[in-house]
């Protein structure tokens, strides 16, 4: 590790030629080409990108910056004009010296039409508004309008644009086309074909981003129906992204279906903890209950996607078995205690432990700050430390083989041995030989990693902090209930060295407390070192002490984090 690590910035692409266009009379300069959303290759900049550059909203359904362009919803139709060219191939000028603009007689879809120098785009003319109203009316005539029972209500593009461009009453006097409802597309997805507006975002996502050509359209015209291949469920590990992509309520998640209306959900920026990729997510919660994860855009980590494995791995947070009480055990008798009386007892017991007789096992699922404080404690006792490696099969997109969210953080803080897990055997041996008398375990069940219950029984002092009860907490002299990541703040460092922070979405259950809080309470008494009071301060202090994090500050992390060298 170098002493002066540098913060990596994404490589700046070679400068691209800029061209000037006008959007609704305002001039904007945009690059001639922009990276394609899927392949990253430079492709000509389109009108919609030029409009976005100047913050002009062009309504759209099928267009998505991360998907290939389909151009089928026709909602983004705009009018445009290009400079008139004389026979000498030079622009014709108006009397006032400005270029004469030839307005195109036909509209163009903003999502697919490339811009050209001097082009003028009109997004708000009476004709454009008339076309939008027409398209929206067409989309709505066969839509079932069952918003009261639709999970998308509240985040539905059809609803949003109806408010902007819709009519107050329908002139549709015919009978609607009915299509299958409640179609079981796969293990995690339900499809309502009536609600579908056939934008094909889901088809393009699974075909072009995931590489699993699983969805398609059958029938013709207004009877078009999205479907999976007969007998083949739509079950790839990214299928739930199609629910996010769906601009209407056609694709719904079986997990989130009819659980809560989205307008009640508080949105908190957080991270997925299921693997080392650290996908950025938004946690949807209401009244201290978490309902869902949704991916959050971060180009240097997860684009706009996340895997189903990570998305559905949150049920444990509301497990009724959660550890919610501080427990102190004396011999066989365990008594329920509280923080106020248990902490001084624990501090006194730890203080009497002799250096060299202590081992500390922290989890790579804990935040970097917690691991940093644990490392401080360990250093005071000259303790043997380690973390538990956790692996699983990786895939081609986001899921990493390292299933710990913070392995890099565990390495940075010095808590994990190299390679991770190689000290576990030494600790077991130390306990067996009687050299190690005190074991501090955070977030792991060590009985499953070579330190069996028989060994734990030999210890003078076993301190365990965890979220769910396990064989280790059952034997611990002090059980300190900790918090799930949605109940606290902190940072993780992903496998590529991306330092990212996450925010608190819900209150912890019962007596459970953020680990940082009670470690900060313990440290001054045991080691004589006082941690900064705020989490921001603690992070900045840590960044100053860890060479790899030199120069990084909590404030600089922002919403999308900072890449450091590992």
């Amino acid at each position: 590790m170098s002493t002066n690590a540098k913060i990596e910035t994404p490589p700046t692409p070679a400068p691209v030629e800029k061209i000037k266009v006008k959007v609704d009379g305002r001039e904007v300069e945009v690059p001639k080409t922009m990276p394609d959303g899927v392949t990253g290759k430079p492709v000509p900049t389109t009108m919609i990108q030029a409009c976005h550059a100047i913050k002009v909203e062009v309504p759209h359904y099928c267009y998505h910056p991360r998907l290939p362009v389909a151009g089928n919803c026709r909602m983004c139709l705009v009018e445009f004009g290009t400079p008139a060219m004389g026979p000498d191939r030079k622009p014709i000028l108006n009397p006032d010296g400005t270029a004469k603009i030839l307005k195109s007689p036909r509209p163009a879809i903003a999502c697919a039409t490339p811009i050209s120098p001097g082009m003028e785009i009109y997004t708000n003319t009476p004709n454009v508004r008339f076309m939008r109203e027409g398209i929206l009316e067409f989309l709505l005539i066969n839509h079932p309008l069952d918003c009261p029972i639709c999970d998308q209500a509240g985040e539905c593009k059809l609803q949003e644009y109806s408010v902007d461009h819709g009519q107050t009453s329908s002139r549709f006097a015919e009978i609607k086309v009915h299509k299958p409802k409640r179609v079981d597309l796969g293990p995690r997805i339900i499809l309502d074909d009536e609600r579908c507006i056939l934008c094909t975002r889901c088809i393009r996502f699974t075909r072009d981003v995931v590489g699993d050509d699983a969805l398609g359209i059958v029938n013709r015209g207004s009877y078009n129906t999205i479907t999976a291949y007969p007998g083949k469920p739509f079950d790839n590990n990214y299928s739930l992204n199609t629910v996010d992509l769906c601009p209407v309520g056609a694709l719904t998640s079986k997990d989130f279906r009819f659980q809560m209306r989205v307008w009640f959900l508080k949105e908190t920026k957080s991270l997925c903890t299921s693997c080392g990729t650290g996908c950025n997510v938004v946690v949807g919660s209401r009244e201290d209950r978490m309902f869902r994860y949704k991916p959050r855009e971060n180009d240097s980590v997860n684009a706009t996607w996340m895997c189903d494995h990570g998305r559905l791995n949150y049920r444990w947070i509301h497990n009724p078995e959660r550890l919610v009480q501080v427990t102190v055990r004396n011999g066989a008798a365990a008594t329920v205690s509280d923080w106020k009386s248990a902490m001084p007892q624990l501090a006194a017991r730890l203080k009497s432990a002799a250096p060299g007789t202590v081992a500390v096992i922290g989890s790579a699922r804990q935040t970097t700050e917690e691991l940093f404080l644990l490392a401080k404690l360990a250093r005071h006792f000259q303790a043997v430390t380690d973390s538990v490696p956790r692996t699983g099969p990786a895939d081609h997109l986001l899921l990493n083989a390292d299933r710990n969210p913070n392995s890099t953080g565990a390495v940075f803080t010095g808590l994990a041995a190299t390679p991770m897990g190689s000290n576990l055997g030494k600790i077991a041996e130390g306990i067996r030989s009687g050299r190690i008398k005190t074991l501090i375990v955070f977030g792991e069940d060590v009985t499953r990693h070579g330190i069996g219950a028989d060994l734990l029984a030999r210890l003078d002092l076993l301190v365990a902090s965890d979220i769910l009860p396990n064989a280790t907490t059952k034997l611990a002299h002090f059980v300190l209930p900790g918090c799930a990541h949605v109940e606290k703040r902190g940072t993780f460092v992903n496998v590529k060295g991306h330092v990212q922070k996450f925010m608190k979405a819900i209150e912890p259950k019962g007596d459970a407390r953020a680990e940082v809080e009670f470690l900060k309470e313990l440290l001054p008494t045991v080691t004589g070192w006082t941690a900064p009071r705020s989490l921001e301060g603690l992070f900045n202090q840590m960044a100053g002490e860890i060479p790899a994090l030199q120069g990084v500050t909590w404030a600089a992390l922002g919403d999308t984090g900072v890449r450091v060298q590992i």
């Binding site: 918003c147 009261p148 029972i149 086309v177 009915h178 299509k179 409802k181 409640r182 009819f258 209306r261």
Partner: protein, 175 residues
């Protein structure tokens, strides 16, 4: 501010004319129509449009009309309404509507009878009825649950049965 009291003259100081005036008014009321009601033996019949206690109704097919859209819960100013959505499976009795409330509670201790829940309901499932006499022996008793709300609301005869029409149309189209 200083108020200057007018000095009373002799006649005013006697009080007798004022007392007589008072008696006149009282006696006049002996011969008027009675306005007092012998509640609870006699019950007040409330006018149309009276906003009493909110109840849930069923449709002609016996289905709870509420589809658990939770708009009333959202709009309720004193947060008196709490709805438990049905969860992923929906409710078996919901039929082609797919969704209904697993539990629906209105805390009548909080309700302010504003009628916003009725106004916002897209399904015409909740109505403020002419019930003004609400009492109970405990706080729990005044938290009306779905069963109680439905029992009090009864059946609402709709002219337009949109969910039934939808199901019929779909059946005609071979679905």
């Amino acid at each position: 501010m200083i108020v200057n009291r007018k000095k009373l003259n002799f006649l005013e100081r006697l009080y007798v004319p004022a007392v007589i005036g008072g008696f006149k008014i009282t006696i006049r009321h002996f011969f008027k129509k009675k306005v007092t009601m012998q509640y609870p033996e006699e019950k007040w019949v409330v006018p149309e449009g009276y906003r009493g206690a909110p109840y849930l109704v069923k449709d002609q097919q016996g289905r709870t009309k509420c589809v658990s859209c939770q708009l009333c819960e959202f709009v309720c100013p004193p947060k008196a309404i709490q709805i438990t959505p049905p969860g992923p499976g929906g409710l078996p009795e919901a039929g082609n509507v797919e969704k209904g409330p697993r539990e629906f509670e209105i805390n009548m201790l909080r309700c302010i009878f504003c009628g916003l829940c009725q106004e916002v309901c897209p399904e015409e499932a909740i109505f403020l009825m002419k019930d003004y006499s609400l009492n109970g022996k405990s706080r729990e008793e005044l938290i009306h649950n779905k069963e109680k709300l439905l029992a009090m609301g009864g059946v609402h005869n709709d002219k337009i049965q949109k969910w039934k029409t939808k199901a019929d149309e779909a059946r005609q189209q071979g679905l």
